[in-house]
Symmetry: C2
Subunit: 160 residues, 2 copies
Amino acid sequence: MKNFVKFGTALALAAGMSTIAYAQIKPEDAIRARQSIMRVNAINFGPVSAMAQEKIPFNKDIFVANALRLESVWAMNPTRFFVPGSDKPVAGARIAAFTDANGEIWSQPEKFKAAYDKETQEIGKLAAAARSGDEKAMKAAAGDVGKACKACHDDFQVKK
Amino acid sequence: MKNFVKFGTALALAAGMSTIAYAQIKPEDAIRARQSIMRVNAINFGPVSAMAQEKIPFNKDIFVANALRLESVWAMNPTRFFVPGSDKPVAGARIAAFTDANGEIWSQPEKFKAAYDKETQEIGKLAAAARSGDEKAMKAAAGDVGKACKACHDDFQVKK
């Protein structure tokens, strides 16, 4: 619990609530933060995407809840956590044993920002569609979110 | 992207949208899912707790956004991911290199559920306070959430 609050406090300070620079977050904490946010996004978007592609039955309650949660968690802005030094695994860290980020995140920050902004836009449209309750619009918007995900992953993840 | 959707589809199926048993999620995916959810909770609750304890200045917008996001992400129910086989690290997995879960999660499921329900209740009150806009109520509710976090961690995490 103590570490929990300490970590959160450090993040709060880092997020612009003081003069402490964001880069003072430890690289392993930054990697873990961004990977956790993206994993939570995957857990939420996965069923949405599968419904949009009719791989699983459409369930409006789950679709809407997940789409709105995706919007909320995306607003945490995972791109803030690509801090200096977090471009490679951190030796000895318990969890940041890998990163799939490729170097273009740091060498092409404007391109990375554009990809993030595009995703933000598409997720905003998905959330708006979810609020509208229109199944067809929801499924179409989910497809566009998926395309934006893929475009960014294609450009900024190491190839597996 | 393919893995992303595949993972989400598996989760959607596992979450009761088909007859496939939840336990079919791979233990390393379950560990990663619960740790990611809890890390996102920490990122959101950390500043809330620090504001409630007056360790950092109160910022209503951030407090409210984080409290509501905590409610939304908590509704993903991280306790669902304590599946059989996920009580120990998974050899060879890239990220599930550790778990801090102690055995009582599996040996005392009713006690674990009660701790989860208590936290759900306190997070609900925090979100209600955030919606009310009353600073004093928000800070008091954050304290109660922190106590419920601590109680569960004390009982169900290995001691460090």
